[in-house]
Amino acid sequence: MDNLGELLHGFTIAVTVPHLALMVVGVLLGILVGVLPGLGAPNGVSLLLPLTFGMQPVSAIILLSSMYWGALFGGSVTSILFNIPGEPSSVATTFDGYPMARDGRPTTALATAFGSAAFGALVGVILITFLASWVAQVALAFGPAEYFAVYFLAFASFVGMGGAAPIKTVVALAIGFAIAAIGIDTVSGSVRLTMGIDELVKGVNFVVAVMGLFGIGELLVAVEEEFHARAVSSKIEWREVFRAIGRLPRHSVALLRSAAIGCWMGITPGGPTAASFMSYGIARRFSRRGRYFGTGEVEGIISPETADHAAGTSALLPMLSLGIPGSATAAVMMGGLMIWGLNPGPMLFVDQKDFVWGLIASMYVGNIVAVVLVLLTVPVFAALMRIPFVIIAPLIVIICVVGAYSVSNSYLDVVMMLGFGIVGYLFKKLFYPLAPLVLAIVIGDKAEDAFRQSMLMSKGSLGIFFANKLVTSLVVGGIALLLLPLVLQLARLFRKPEPPTTETTSQEKVII
């Protein structure tokens, strides 16, 4: 294994006092931007970028990637504590993380999330270390048809589950698709669905929708129920942090499965968001306690978090070896690489060994630094749950308003966010599921682009989705996942006729 030798050499570059100091600074800054919705890793990275031009490229990338780790971890905090996902990839974490925190176990929820996230990232880095060149080849096999098949697979694994009325699920999903289509269409260049509002040409940003649907919507539900979070004990629960981490190995199946899904989606164009949704969907279907998902189930936190970080980490590989950024942050970093005079692409691994292996080694060390720092902050964040609702509610409103505004300095976004808040409340109240809607907003337009690019290539024939083994197996896998719940339901129906499900019984089930 020469990779191992290279990695050891990389460690000698990464593990120096100045580099460790840079990692701590980067991670702390990352946690800060990750926790503040509206500011994300791209903000932080693009702000630090100018400061790094005087540094060695390897020091600069270590600082920036540490910030990326910090932001990935920080992004889960608001999802769990306040049901406000700051990034698309932490939406799925809210489904079980928030109920658990509300239930008086914020420490457990946060520690579980961080622990499994660190595991996911570790698997991702190991993959990069040993299979870099193979992974790059796999990514090249994906053309538009395969892209579409991957998105289809992600939808299939997630849709068709949950306790919601099927027609309401369909409506929510379709609304998500329609929202994703607003703005300029990549394939034709024409403007769509702007409803006569000129500014909508930019499209509806995911963060704006989610702050409203989840943040404000949940706040309205909570105030109506006169909700009080189950009292959180005022002692700082260090022991619970370690206990939660110690319990993780019991869920090793979920951890490994989610890491595999994450790596796969990170390398293929699915990305962290699709990965976390898909992992959650599959866990819900195959876990023994799947029925309880949505009520604060441990595996409901482990699955999306592990997959998210595994994908986020392995997404850096296509950036380095192919020059396609797997995420917005990766795009900023790539811009940085070019300014430092490095050209991302296959030759980077040959020309710039010190840089590449220094970076990969720093991923190991940086992640360890990040998880230690972030675990230290758990009790502090958990203490936020003790703030009385009357005080925290207006603060959440302000966070959502500022977050929606800072996405693209637009007042329209703030107004839309408030509108989404009402929709979120109504949907939650009437058992329309929000998850399919959000998934459709995030990857709906990408799926549509890929579909129409495929149609251009095949001159309008659907045969392109069965043209080779790769795309055929993806599509067949997706169809199988879609049909599975139907088949199971039919089988159950034949065994014994069930009493008709009414909305009242489905109230007890949890709609996500």
Partner: protein, 160 residues
């Protein structure tokens, strides 16, 4: 008091009219599918139709005296409605005030109003919290991350 049925109907009408808007707008973009590819309106058109049909189904289900709905006649009681308004109305006023007052002043006033007016906190503490909120926003966004939040028409009039 708002009944569950009324709420279902209102939501179905809301989603349905969104669907109609989507269908109408996508006709502008063309809805063809030929060997030259798929037109940009095709997909939204289909999606819009799905929304309209789904909403109609939900609407009809809401109108029919289904047993399932009878068991939950009331969705929002008077008192709940008052609590909802208590949160949402100040928030909406806050958002409406941003263009005039700017983010900092508006959020400080908002915090002060929701804490001091219902007497959740003493006047002094409310004042301190309001000031702290605005200051924290300024330091984090304007200074640290150079994200310029709106300063408002009032500030512009005074030449900031």
């Amino acid at each position: 008091m708002i009944s569950r049925r009324a709420l279902e109907l209102a939501t179905a009408v809301l989603t349905g009219s969104f669907g109609v808007a989507v269908v109408v707008q996508s006709l502008d973009n063309g809805i063809g599918w030929s060997s030259a590819g798929v037109d940009s309106g095709t997909f939204p058109f289909v999606i819009g139709l799905v929304i309209v049909l789904g909403s109609l189904y939900n609407l009809v289900r809401g109108v029919l005296p289904a047993t399932s709905l009878a068991s939950v006649p009331i969705a929002i009681t008077q008192i709940e409605l008052r609590r909802l308004a208590g949160l949402f109305v100040p928030a909406a006023i806050f958002v409406a005030a941003i263009p005039l007052l700017g983010m900092y002043l508006a959020s400080a006033l908002y915090i002060f109003a929701v804490l001091a007016v219902p007497r959740h906190q003493s006047l002094l503490r409310s004042l301190a919290m309001a000031a702290a909120t605005a200051l924290a926003l300024y330091v984090v966004f304007e200074r640290m991350f150079q994200v310029s939040l709106p300063h408002g028409a009032l500030a512009a009039a005074f030449g900031f």
